[in-house]
């Protein structure tokens, strides 16, 4: 009996290990030969732990499963109360365009043979047969933009690093996915790590870098374990090493684990962290592409950016560019989270409206209460009310409405949310995580908390002060931490004014 079960951290958080143990025990009890493959997650977190059994046409899905549901799976799967039908025919799966996450949930993440059989390494093989400049050109033509949040065109970043002359260049993968509501980097690394490794090897060839680094946050112990093993396998099998795939240039990757600092997701802070310096933000210029890690030319890309490169090379830039809207090309792995009925990862071409994502795909809140606000783009992203649900998912489209898509995390809140408390939390978080280098962020965030407390006490005079403070932080901060913390604060004030109109407290 062939069975698939996710070992993604979210599945494990919901009891996948107990289900795995029950499957093994039940098979032993019945004398059934069990072929249990642990995979990444398909992204349907509300159905985890999701068990799949080989059916006549495809895999049949069952979920959410508990150990008590396991015995019936061995009797009559079709009549099982948790039977959902064929996995790939489920509406959540059918409606996606899974390019970056094509294999996630399908294969054993550490089975390099299965990776290749499912289309892996085709992009790297194609790239190695091309001159580096043509690889850069292909990425440029695809329209791929940085998925970490800034949305900078990847091809231009690569061209800059490729044009820099230096004895040593680096590819640094930013896997410091600290934004609340985002988990795509984690899911990809846990579910399809070779895809990231392949993307980094392509980047190395394209810009002439022989050293790669993955900076992975310590809050992701499962991802650290999986990637460390994947890197070992990649070296053993010749995917990494002195000659990539036996005939390419040298390229190897070192895994670095973070130590719990949100600001290290900012690229220059991340570089300082790898170098062993206090990870304060660096002023730019110089750009990392000119003077990055150890002062050498460095491409810093997010996990999803690098993991999108293999399919672009394999299928050609036009294939990628033909998805999307405006200047947002290709697909984006949406991460739908918070108080949500159907939460998880949903990869689609840019252009779905926020309302389609929230109401239609996610099915509204888990509590069943009305959606009050949606925070898009992590802790530095704006809170959008229902009035803005017509906004199409794209970089410029969100910017035009005072928001940002960031790393494509979408967090739902029901009508019990206190927007003033959330605005205060944004400032509190900035104060806690500020690297301290620039004053607007270091001091401004502390003053922001105090000013919001004044507003909470009914001091209306504090409102214009907060608005002015937000302006100062926005335009005076060195990086996005201080510069974007005003987004959640001012959007909450603008769109949810009732939550900020507090009665004046009686004088003590």
């Amino acid at each position: 009996m062939k069975v698939w079960l996710s070992q993604d951290a979210a599945a494990r958080a919901l009891g996948a290990e107990a289900v795995a143990a029950a499957l093994t025990a039940e098979a032993a009890r019945r004398g059934v030969a069990l072929d249990l493959v642990r995979t990444g997650s398909h992204g349907m977190v509300w159905l985890e732990p999701l068990v799949e059994v080989q059916g006549p046409a495809g895999r049949l899905a069952f979920g959410p499963m508990t150990p008590a549901d396991v015995p019936a799976l061995f009797d009559a799967p079709a009549a099982h109360p948790r039977a959902l039908g064929e996995t790939l025919a489920l509406p959540w799966m059918r409606r996606q365009t899974r390019l970056t996450f094509a294999r996630c949930g399908m294969t054993d993440p550490l089975d390099l043979g299965a990776y290749e059989a499912a289309g892996g390494l085709a992009g790297l093989r194609r790239a190695l047969a091309m001159p580096p400049a043509e690889v850069v050109q292909a990425v440029t033509e695809s329209g791929l933009r940085g998925r970490g949040g800034a949305g900078f065109p990847t091809g231009i970043k690569w061209r800059t690093a490729a044009g820099a002359s230096a004895p040593q260049k680096h590819i640094v993968c930013n896997a410091d996915e600290g934004d609340s509501g985002t988990f795509a980097d984690r899911m990809l690394i846990e579910g399809d790590p070779f895809c990231l490794i392949e993307g980094m090897a392509i980047a190395g060839h394209a810009v002439g870098a022989t050293r790669g680094w993955v900076y992975l946050r310590s809050e992701y112990p499962d991802a650290i374990r999986t990637l460390a093993r994947a890197l070992g396998i990649a070296r053993d099998m010749g995917l990494l090493g002195p000659r990539v795939l036996g005939h390419g240039p040298a390229f190897d990757i070192e895994l670095r684990v973070g130590a719990g600092a949100y600001v290290c997701g900012e690229e220059t802070s991340l570089l300082n962290s790898i170098e062993g310096r206090r990870p304060v933000v660096r002023a730019k210029p110089p750009l990392p592409a000119h003077e990055g890690l150890f002062g050498q030319p460095t491409v810093v890309n997010n996990v999803l950016t690098l993991a999108s490169v293999p399919v672009i090379l394999a299928e050609g830039p036009a294939f990628w560019r033909d998805f999307g809207i405006g200047r947002s090309r290709g697909t984006i792995p949406l991460q739908i989270a918070g108080n949500v009925r159907r939460g998880g990862l949903f990869e689609a071409a840019f252009g779905l409206t926020l309302g389609e994502i929230v109401d239609d795909i996610a099915g509204g809140t888990a509590s069943g209460r009305p959606v009050k606000a949606v925070q898009v783009g992590g802790p530095l992203g704006a809170y959008f009310p229902r009035a803005l649900f017509g906004t199409p998912f794209g970089y410029e489209e969100f910017a035009a409405r005072g928001g940002l898509i960031g790393h494509a995390g979408i967090v739902l809140f029901d009508d019990s949310a206190d927007m003033l408390a959330l605005a205060r939390f944004a400032m509190e978080f900035c104060a806690l995580e500020s690297c301290g280098k620039c004053t607007p962020c270091r001091i401004g965030a502390v003053r922001g908390v105090e000013t919001l407390d004044r507003i909470a006490r009914g001091d209306a005079a504090a409102r214009p002060l907060l608005e002015e403070l937000c302006e100062t932080m926005k335009f005076g901060s060195l990086c996005a931490l201080g510069g974007f913390t005003p987004y959640p604060v001012t959007s909450a004030m603008t769109h949810f004014p009732d939550d900020f109109a507090r009665p004046r407290e009686a004088a003590a």
Partner: protein, 157 residues
């Protein structure tokens, strides 16, 4: 293991030797020290600084920046409760208050009997199944008051 059990210097030297020749070794060294002793003993800093040709102030500047590093060993059980927005949307603030009240400690503190350390964490990437926690490194999703009480009482996560 206490730092002054007679093997401290030798173990630290061995650990520094493992990282010799590495580019940017300070963070991995501090992580290895914490993995070895459960915290970063102050007594380790001069040797680390000397090995890397750094000042003790520079080492301290790095050490003190990160939330992960401890000055004293953690409790026998470490509960990291997520406090970030997606988990707040599912009631994480109430769970945090419950944990602090039950244990009688604040965020980042350890109970007097050394049983439990309660750490805040800002996102575990379990945002579609919050409130989330990491209990002795094991992920926990859809945490509720009853389960949290059981975890704080020592039950398996």
């Amino acid at each position: 293991m206490s730092p002054d059990d007679g093997t401290f210097d030798a173990r630290l030297r061995g650990l520094l030797a493992e990282h010799a020749g590495r580019d940017g070794p300070l963070l991995p060294i501090l992580q290895a020290v914490q993995a070895e002793w459960g915290h970063v003993p102050r007594a380790a800093l001069p040797a680390i600084a000397a090995a890397l040709n750094l000042s003790r102030a520079e080492v301290h500047g790095v050490l003190s920046f990160y939330h992960d590093f401890r000055e004293a060993p953690a409790g026998r059980r470490v509960v990291k409760l997520c406090r970030a927005e997606a988990c707040q949307a599912m009631g994480a603030e109430a769970l945090g208050a419950q944990a602090r009240a039950r244990l009688g400690i604040g965020w980042g503190e350890t109970t007097a009997d050394g049983a439990i350390t309660l750490d805040p964490v800002f996102c575990l990437g379990l945002c579609a199944c919050g409130p989330a926690a990491l209990v002795d490194g094991q992920p926990v999703g859809r945490l509720d008051a009853a389960r949290l009480d059981a975890i704080l009482a020592g039950a398996a996560p």
